[in-house]
């Protein structure tokens, strides 16, 4: 049983005109076994929330707290957060030329577990995981994210999610830019992770279409750096029909 608890989180970024507040007090609790969806228009601060939890240096936390099972996440370095059990599937995964996927996955797994995985089972695990997300085994010899198509990058993120097996996964617009087949493959991967039980998922998305494959327990509407409304899966259907207009107008007043 794990709990990611975000309390009154305020986050700023540096701009030419001085610091600009992006998150204006976000409170959210994700218990393991739950899937939370955060939906909101562009520029509402959804990705800032994801990157702030992961510890990206661009974002400065000016108030509030984030804890994982009571431990202060904000006091941890980026890699300590990952080792504590957080995972961020990125919207724009970064190219690392000359480092093979196999080398990267093994290095990450060793770091997370504190010991090197057993060679024989590990290679089998990697190949099986790649196959499940419809990536050829030769994929592991390619450089990390270099020359990957948009769909390959996202499927590679999901393969990492399954292999590194965190306590809480944050998926930042993992559905963006995917065709329907890739969307299904990615969704199945998230569901497999979630179905292991005792795992939390925070799914950040602009569109409702991924929610046809992944059923959230809680839906949050995110507008202007805050959660404007919460509800069950039915809230997603309502957003599908009505869009974000009523929330953005309310926030603008």
């Amino acid at each position: 049983m794990s709990t990611l608890e975000i309390t009154d989180l305020h986050v700023s970024v540096a701009t030419e005109d001085g610091p600009k507040e992006i998150l204006k007090g976000v409170t959210l609790t994700i218990d393991s076994g739950q899937v939370h969806a955060i939906m909101g228009p562009n520029g509402s601060g959804k990705s800032t929330l994801a990157y702030s939890i992961a510890g990206h240096p661009k974002y400065e936390v000016t108030g509030g707290s984030v804890t994982l099972d009571g431990d202060d996440v904000l006091a941890m370095s980026v890699d300590e957060r990952a080792r504590a059990g957080l995972f961020l599937a990125m919207q724009y995964p970064v190219e690392v030329p000359g480092v093979s996927v196999a080398n990267f996955l093994r290095t990450a797994k060793t770091a997370i577990d504190g010991e090197a995985p057993k060679l024989r089972t590990w290679v089998k695990d990697v190949n099986a995981t790649l196959e499940r997300v419809d990536l050829d085994p030769t994929f592991s010899q390619r450089s990390v994210n270099e020359g990957f198509s948009g769909g390959e990058k996202k499927r590679h993120e999901i393969a990492q999610l399954e292999l590194l097996d965190p306590k809480v996964a944050i998926l930042d617009e993992t559905d963006s830019g995917l065709d329907i087949d890739a969307l299904r493959i990615v969704s199945e991967g998230v569901n497999r992770f979630s179905d292991k039980g005792d795992r939390g998922v925070l799914l950040i998305t602009h569109y409702t279409r991924i929610l046809r494959y992944i059923t959230p327990d809680v839906v949050h509407v995110f507008v202007n750096g805050r959660i404007a409304e919460q509800g069950g899966p039915e809230l997603a259907d309502q957003l599908e029909a009505e869009g974000y207009d009523k929330y953005t107008k309310a926030a603008a007043v």
Partner: protein, 412 residues
């Protein structure tokens, strides 16, 4: 960086090239001083010359001037597959090899080596021979106190296929001329490893003549030494030749590592592709890369690209990167260059660290990848593992030791 664009101004003074086959217009350029075999025609450099302006002359132990060029300052041994002749030649046989690559010395030190050294090491690969294993030549320094000079000739017969590795280790004060003759249609790789001890000074001029439709790959790998300066030059003995010039270097505290490339497109439809990568770390770690490309008037339909990428790991280092492109004909397929000097990519580090990988391990991985990208292009399986482990041990020794983060601005 500098880009020089000249039109042929001195076409009236045609002179026979060293190969005697091609008549070429003379090119007036401060980048390419007129060469001469006559030692007296070369004044001792002062450091103000274009070709010497980056080199710390005071640390050269006189090699650029009047130091003794003893033959026994280094020990040379070799292993070669059957069918390859490797031997030390002297007297007339040695003299006949001087300038065999078309080299006309443009420095005093090269002129002196050609004129004053008695012996040449000759690696002779017969025409049409296809070697299945590399030729390894070990050049071992036995002490930096006495200065030395050596002349090496690598001659590849037409349509041969071979790999030669020159491995430089130990302590030495060495000036070296390596002349490479790649016969028509031959496919050749020459790898020069500078894995010297910390006190070594090494000046190496490696000049190649690439035959008609031949392909030549030259790889310079420089990790060790106090001062290492490598000039790797290519000319073409006929149309259709290709040259790939690769290099990697890692400068630590106090080291000066300099690589100067010159692709002289003197024949039509020739190609050159230059790719050098380097990393710097520690106080007064210094690297210089100068990539000269000359496209002569007669070199129609050629294609050239050169790139140099530098990774600056700590404060207190200096990297210079100077691509020069001189174009005397517009009738070409393509010409381009790229040059970067940068610090770590913070986004790469963030991505790796977000997967639990510690900061030092992430840095190690990024540098490893940076070089691995190039090592994969070397194409000599026997060497790839050695190069990777050299990079690994360099990283072990340095990147993880006494690491202090460099100051960086906010990332996007």
């Amino acid at each position: 960086m500098t880009v020089t664009d000249q039109t042929a101004g001195a076409a009236s003074t045609a002179l026979e090239s060293a190969e005697g086959a091609l008549e070429m217009a003379r090119v007036d350029s401060h980048l390419h001083p007129e060469g001469s075999f006559d030692v007296d025609a070369h004044p001792v450099p002062t450091g103000r010359e274009e070709i010497w302006r980056f080199t710390p002359l005071k640390r050269l132990r006189g090699l650029h001037a009047d130091a003794a060029l003893a033959a026994d300052a280094v020990r040379t041994s070799w292993t070669a597959p059957d069918g390859v002749r490797v031997e030390t030649v002297a007297g007339e046989a040695a003299r006949e090899l001087r300038g065999v690559s078309g080299l006309v010395p443009n420095t005093l030190v090269s002129a002196r080596i050609l004129a004053e050294t008695e012996e040449s090491l000759l690696v002779d690969v017969p025409a049409e021979a296809e070697l299945t294993e590399p030729v390894f030549v070990e050049v071992t320094g036995e002490g930096a106190d006495s200065t030395g000079g050596t002349h090496v000739v690598l001659r590849f017969g037409h349509h041969s296929s071979a790999v030669v590795v020159l491995n430089h280790t130990g302590s030495a004060s060495l000036a070296e001329v390596v002349e490479v003759v790649v016969g028509d249609g031959a496919k050749v790789s020459v790898v020069s490893l500078q894995d010297w001890a910390d006190d070594t000074v090494h000046l190496s001029h490696q000049q190649a003549s690439v035959g008609r439709d031949a392909s030549y790959k030259h790889v310079a790998v420089t990790f060790g030494g106090d001062v290492v300066r490598m000039d790797a030059n290519v000319t073409y003995a006929g149309p259709g030749g290709e040259a790939e010039l690769l290099g990697l270097y890692f400068a630590d505290e106090g080291q000066h590592l300099e690589h100067r490339l010159f692709a002289d497109h003197n024949a039509p439809r020739t190609k050159s592709n230059v790719s050098y990568k380097g990393a710097l770390q520690g106080e007064k770690a210094r690297t210089v890369w100068v990539g000269n490309v000359l496209i002569r008037k007669e070199a129609e339909g050629i294609e050239t690209y050169e790139e140099n990428r530098n990774l600056v790991l700590t404060d207190g280092c200096q990297a210079d990167s100077v691509p020069n492109l001189e174009i005397e004909t517009g009738e070409i397929e393509g010409a381009g260059h790229a040059s970067t000097i940068g610090r770590f990519d913070d986004l790469q580090l963030f991505y790796l660290r977000s997967r639990g990988i510690s900061e030092s391990e992430a840095r190690r991985l990024v540098i490893f990848g940076f070089f691995n990208d190039l090592i994969r292009k070397v194409g000599v399986p026997e060497l790839e593992e050695q190069l990777l482990s050299t990079v690994e041990s360099e990283l072990e020794r340095n990147v993880l030791k006494g690491y202090e983060p460099v100051s960086t601005g906010p990332v996007a």
